[in-house]
């Protein structure tokens, strides 16, 4: 007799085999292989079919409740789905700030009407969201933000500037932190949802050191934000002036997500590079120093993968310290940066090519540079360490 979970594993594997298009079982090469959905989606062959069948099963968000477009799977089933997708090399059907950030915050803080209104389009990949947190004067000290929302009866009027807003130029809606009380700091912030197509919203892309332009300056010039989008569907999540609670909760999920969960990337860089780098007569990677660093990296990657599994399990069971995502983000991003340093080092001059076709437009170098943002975006490593010191180790304030 198979246990329920074994049956689930067998059925899931069979379903994935039958439904995942062959193109979606190839490794992702660059950003264009990620599917972001939205009002004006772009799809490569196989991407739309894969998104649609997965969304129909609720498996773009397997652990969300079914009534909000999820799959209603338990923690154990979600884990199995992830393991089978990894084993069969199925790509993730949808990349989405809605799934990684807004969704969990709405599930926790949203009203029933808000959940019913906003979550299903996220699960189906129909609405693409961006995050309006940082401002030019408010980065690590996010709660000092100044973008204002003034109550005008049935709507708010929003004015100000956000910066580093990832994909603001491609997003349909924004979850935005605004100041609704100038006399308070943390207790004067609200968490608002509005359409990026609203009059008065403009975006201006910023070029990164990787040469890519994934984020923008975002300007709000007398933007009218209705208080409701229908019966009970408030534009403010939780309550006015209580947005900091929502913002922090969301950051927890964002930080867990940026930590990478140890899930992507080949397990062993050394195994991957030994053939291309060369081996000595004993079959060892031909540079003993590089070999040692590769093996250290293998250990750190496998160790962090165990950490990610434990974090996920304890989080779901309510056994994990609420500030643990900060530790995860710190550790995961620092490992990822080191990993890409090693990839560059192993590649030598070849991976310096920036434009050639052979280098896929300098993909390796651009990816390396992109990882430098990992320990900045979503809260810097230094800020993560501050939070761990204070909230987990209870060290005295300076």
């Amino acid at each position: 007799m198979m246990s329920d979970l074994e049956t689930f594993r067998a059925e899931t594997a069979a379903w994935l085999e039958a439904n995942c298009p062959p193109e979606m079982r190839q490794p992702m090469v660059d950003e264009s292989d990620a599917v972001w959905g939205g009002r004006n989606p772009t799809f490569k062959p196989g991407q739309k079919e894969w998104l649609d069948v997965m969304a129909a099963k609720g498996w773009t968000v397997p652990d969300w409740p079914k009534e909000y477009g999820g799959g209603g799977l338990s923690r154990a089933e979600t884990k199995i789905l992830g393991q089978e997708m990894a084993r069969l090399k199925c790509r993730s059907p949808l990349s989405s700030f809605g799934i990684w950030m807004l969704g969990p915050a709405l599930l926790h803080f949203g009203t029933e009407a808000q959940k019913k209104h906003f979550l299903p389009p996220i699960a189906r990949g129909e609405i693409r969201w961006c995050q309006g947190y940082s401002e030019p004067g408010s980065g690590s000290d996010l709660a000092s933000l100044q973008t204002s929302a003034v109550d005008q009866g049935d709507h708010f009027v929003v004015n100000g500037q956000k910066i580093w807003t990832s994909y603001a130029d491609k997003a349909d809606w924004i979850f935005c932190l605004t100041r609704t009380d100038k006399n308070e700091k943390h207790k004067g912030i609200s968490f608002m949802l509005f359409d990026m197509a609203s009059e008065g919203v403009t975006t201006k892309p910023i070029v990164l050191i990787s040469g890519q332009s994934a984020f923008c300056e975002t300007f709000f010039d007398d933007v009218k934000v209705p208080k409701e989008y229908g019966e009970g569907v408030s534009s403010v999540v939780y309550e006015v002036n209580k947005g900091w609670d929502v913002a922090k909760y969301l950051l927890g999920h964002e930080r867990s997500m940026i930590s990478g969960g140890g899930s992507d990337g080949a397990t062993s860089l050394g195994a991957k590079f030994a053939d291309q780098y060369g081996r000595d007569e004993m079959g060892r990677l031909d540079d003993p120093m590089l070999r040692a660093q590769m093996a250290e990296m293998d250990i750190d990657v496998l160790a962090f993968r165990a950490m990610a599994e434990r974090f996920g399990d304890t989080f779901k069971a309510g056994l994990c310290h609420p500030a643990q995502p900060n530790m995860m983000k710190y550790a995961g991003t620092e490992i990822n940066k080191r990993r890409h340093e090693l990839i560059m080092s192993a590649g030598g001059s070849e991976v310096l090519e920036w434009e050639s076709e052979a280098s896929n437009g300098g993909l390796t170098a651009r990816s390396w540079l992109r990882t430098k943002a990992n320990s900045i975006e979503g809260g810097t490593s230094e800020v993560m360490l501050n939070v761990v010191s204070k909230q987990i180790l209870h060290l005295p304030g300076a």
Partner: protein
């Protein structure tokens, strides 16, 4: 299986924590060190271990034990590490028992009752030099009558002077470096021709240099099959390494806790030193390393208990990761204690010494890092 302790394991954790803290805290180690105990541990305490059921954790229920796994053994070992408890638990009840579990019923019946009652102590005679190189074993046994004759040297056998029985890994064919040709024996510690020279180590534990001069053993002293000792040795090493990783984790966690406490109480420049960011970031980083090590050790133990084919890889990852994290913990610990960290009066230095010994036990960080590269085929 979720990667945290289940309810039963948590209960075992709580009782092991209470027991070790109550019966064998750091002051117990000091007491045995100061009276220059030759065995390096308390036989009365070992009896108490037995009463708690700890000694039979890895002994099957059919053999009268608790029939638990590596996770449970690790739970006890972490508390041993936290309290720096001197005991023969790791060599006897973890690695030694696991080796005997690979042997026949006659051997198990001979040794398990004494282990269960807290009378028998086992030691592991594997290493032949100052570094752990089990693939380079060269000490040999030759056939003699119905049994074997053992000749050669084993070094740094922890508890080797006080053990009743030695688990000895030797060559019965082939030469150093070969996979096959090893045989493991259970040898009476009082056998004729066996000379033992005990030395005290930096952490106050006792280790012995052993010389076998024509030591005769019966054929029934063979654990498992002749020339197939690699199978037995692998089980012994997996258990010993994951166990040592768990004890190391306890040492690192204990050192971190006392350091966090210390910097919350010490004032300089008119402020608690724990309020200085220079120390906060380092100890928060340490916390992160210790958490990762904890997950890794538990993962390795779960994989061993499940019989996973990748367990051996994860055991090496765990020994290396726990070793690195704990080395950092004791170094930062002494440094953040300032001058008092250098004194014998404060416990932090004892943690540093224990860590150093555990690093060498069954392979240090470099050894296991190299193994990981080999297992990954480069």
């Amino acid at each position: 299986m979720p990667l945290y302790l289940n309810e039963d394991q948590q209960m075992l954790h709580d009782s092991a924590a209470e027991f070790m803290k109550g019966e064998a805290p750091v002051s117990h180690l000091r007491e045995f060190r100061d009276k220059q105990c030759k065995d390096g541990f308390s036989h009365a305490l070992w009896k108490q271990f037995a009463e708690m059921g700890f000694t039979g954790i890895l002994i099957g229920e059919d053999d009268g034990g608790l029939g638990m796994g590596h996770v449970e053994a690790g739970v006890v070992l972490e508390q041993i590490g936290r309290n720096l408890t001197p005991s023969p638990f790791l060599t006897t009840s973890v690695a030694g028992v696991e080796a005997l579990n690979a042997g026949g019923k006659a051997l198990r019946d001979k040794y398990f009752p004494g282990i269960l009652s807290g009378d028998t102590v086992l030691a592991l005679a594997v290493d032949e030099g100052p570094k752990h190189r089990p693939d380079q074993i060269s000490m040999a046994a030759t056939r003699e009558g119905n049994g074997f004759k053992l000749d050669g040297k084993k070094q740094f056998v922890v508890q080797g002077g006080s053990a009743d029985t030695l688990i000895v890994a030797v060559r019965t064919s082939g030469s150093a470096g070969d996979d096959k040709g090893l045989t493991l024996f259970a040898v009476d510690a009082n056998a004729q021709g066996l000379a033992k020279n005990s030395v005290r180590l930096v952490d106050s534990a006792m280790a012995a240099h052993l010389e076998f001069d024509g030591v005769l053993v019966d054929a029934d002293a063979v654990i498992g099959e002749v020339d197939e000792g690699d199978v037995v040795l692998r089980r012994l090493l997996n258990a010993g390494r994951s166990g040592a990783a768990a004890e190391t984790l306890g040492v690192g966690a204990g050192a971190m806790d006392i350091t966090v406490d210390y910097i919350k109480g010490r004032k300089q420049f008119g402020a608690l030193i724990g309020s200085f960011q220079a120390l906060q970031h380092r100890i928060a980083h340490l916390y992160s390393e210790m958490e990762i090590a904890r997950a890794t050790v538990l993962k390795a133990q779960q994989m061993l208990d499940e019989g996973s084919s990748k367990a051996e890889l994860m055991v090496s990852v765990a020994k290396a990761k726990a070793g690195k994290a704990t080395a950092l913990s004791v170094k930062e610990g002494v440094q953040m204690h300032g001058g008092v960290g250098m004194t014998d009066e404060y416990d932090i230095g004892l943690y540093m010494k224990r860590d150093r010994a555990l690093q060498e036990f069954m392979g240090d960080v470099n050894y296991h890092t190299n193994l990981v590269a080999e297992m990954h085929g480069y």
